[in-house]
């Protein structure tokens, strides 16, 4: 985490994740172009390749947008969240190739080879805008200026907007930016993916679907839109329930609110409650109870959905750890989260509504020995 700065910390899981991702993309691109050739050998392959990369990027965007809400609904999807940013960067590159093309032989070092590597994709910008006397980029924006019309709206401009946002996200995807911008700002920036999604749905709906009237394309795009919308709304409603403040049978006294029973919380796990407007993770472990902020300092992951492992509360997203009684990461790491004073009265757990600053030593509350065996 913060011992000695390493720009990219590869591990076996990340490598497997990336290899699977690249293999899936390669298979998709191959099947797309191969099946087009089977349908008709006369089809213009340059245009097919543009659509192959564009559709691959669009489909991958749907996969990426599905991961977040699916993880909220079922923890089994968490492994997909682990390296989601690599998917996002890959998706950006697929969209970039769709837009401006790619020539393997022109890459540095490869251009010095005595032979040409036969892999080249012509991008949509040059395929559709390079046959006139205007610079392709000028033609791109000047060719269609019907901004006041819906169906004649310059759909390519929508694609440019989507690609620009994805570029911004790709270049800030590294933890360097996360640390320097801080998690809330970085997260706010990356929530622009929804603006990009809207722009790209518009790009497809006002572009390809206007001229390609095959029902399959319309149905597939429509189903993708419905899927993303529905799972987000379901996950959002579930999360909103979690944000409901604790309903106490007795009013809060001396700044402590009752959050439930010691029997509500499995050992080495937590209960997430909303206290004073933010979520608090109340962990039970080794006959004790501690409460820390539910928000991981790395990417604001839900600490309360993690486990107590090796003496530390472990975030389920990327494995960041915090000591329960201080909210600080074990040395030499320096991350820390706010802690909350906790009391156990009988079998009831009370949590302070006032957070302690991150890293504050906050003794855990002990479960009465006579209840410990039953908890």
């Amino acid at each position: 985490m913060s011992v000695a700065y390493k720009s990219i910390q590869w591990n076996r899981t990340k490598i497997i994740y990336d290899l699977l991702l690249l293999a899936a993309i390669a298979i998709y691109l191959f099947l797309f172009t191969w099946s087009a050739q089977q349908i008709s050998p006369d089809l213009e392959m340059l245009g097919i390749q543009i659509r192959a990369f564009g559709s691959a990027a669009f489909i991958l965007l749907h996969v990426i947008l599905s991961i977040g809400p699916l993880c909220r609904l079922n923890r089994k999807f968490l492994p997909l969240l682990y390296n989601r940013r690599h998917m996002g960067v890959t998706m950006f590159f697929l969209g970039l190739i769709h837009a401006i093309g790619f020539n393997l032989s022109s890459l540095p070092l490869l251009d010095k080879l005595p032979f040409k590597i036969p892999f080249k994709v012509t991008g949509a910008l040059y395929w559709y805008h390079d046959f006139g006397d205007l610079d392709p980029i000028v033609s791109q924006f000047a060719g269609n200026t019907h901004y006041g019309s819906l169906v004649r709206f310059p759909f390519e401009t929508l694609g440019v907007i989507g690609l620009a946002i994805l570029f911004l996200m790709a270049i800030t995807s590294h933890d360097f930016w996360l640390a320097n911008l801080t998690a809330p700002i970085w997260k706010g920036l990356h929530m622009m993916v929804y603006v990009a999604y809207a722009a790209l749905v518009g790009h497809v709906a006002l572009g390809a679907i206007q001229t390609n009237r095959h029902p399959l394309l319309t149905v597939v795009v429509g189903l993708g839109l419905i899927w993303i919308t529905v799972i987000h709304l379901i996950a959002a409603l579930k999360e909103r329930r979690g944000d409901q403040p604790i309903r106490n049978t007795a009013p809060a006294t001396d700044n402590f609110v009752e959050i439930g029973s010691i029997y509500d919380i499995p050992n080495t796990r937590a209960k997430i409650v909303s206290v004073a407007g933010e979520r608090v993770a109340v962990f039970k472990y080794d006959g004790k109870v501690s409460a820390i902020s539910n928000v991981c300092q790395h990417q604001n992951g839900p600490l309360g959905e993690g486990k107590f492992i090796d003496g530390c509360i472990t975030c389920p997203w990327h494995g960041y750890q915090y000591l329960p009684e201080t909210g600080a990461s074990p040395p030499p790491f320096v991350e820390s989260v706010p802690t909350f004073n906790v009391q156990v009265r009988g079998d009831r757990i009370f949590v302070s509504t006032i957070p302690n600053p991150p890293g504050t030593q906050t003794p855990a509350a002990h479960i009465p020995p006579e209840l410990e065996g039953q908890a």
Binding site: L150, P184, A198, G202, A205, I209, V221, L225, E278
Partner: protein, 173 residues
Amino acid sequence: MIHERRQTHFWSFVALACILPLGFLASLLLRPSYGPAASSSTSLFDNAGFTPSVTPDEIEVLKQVDWADAVVPIKGEAIKVTEAGAPQVLLAVTPSRAIQQPDVLVYWLEGKQASTDALAENALFLGSLVGTSRRAFTVPTAMQGKAGNLLIYSQGKDSVLSALPLSADMTTP
């Protein structure tokens, strides 16, 4: 995610859930049908040298030729159309099957033979071909009564796909 971000997330997706389906449906329902222009634009087409729009029973086919083995298989017809009492001979070209080459244009080049290596600079441009639509081209003065070759050119591939011999009686006014 902190509470504030969750709230932003929630409301922004409620907005998207309302706007996106409406926009998607609108884009489907408002799709234009690509048909002939309205009658008010007829004069624009006339001024631009487009052939008049006529009904099939007003067409008299004078001669036909079929280039079934060409890269872009087409049928050629010399047709006579009468509009406002004035007869006009046009060259009609109809693809025999849907064109699967990009940006196909039709040129004419005088002479017995024409090379397909490159598009000759003095080739006369007639018009474009697409799909299986019949296209009727006005026969330019320089082409009338002369034998030559129809050049089927793909602008997308920048190559002459076929050079099809066209006899003089196909271009006689």
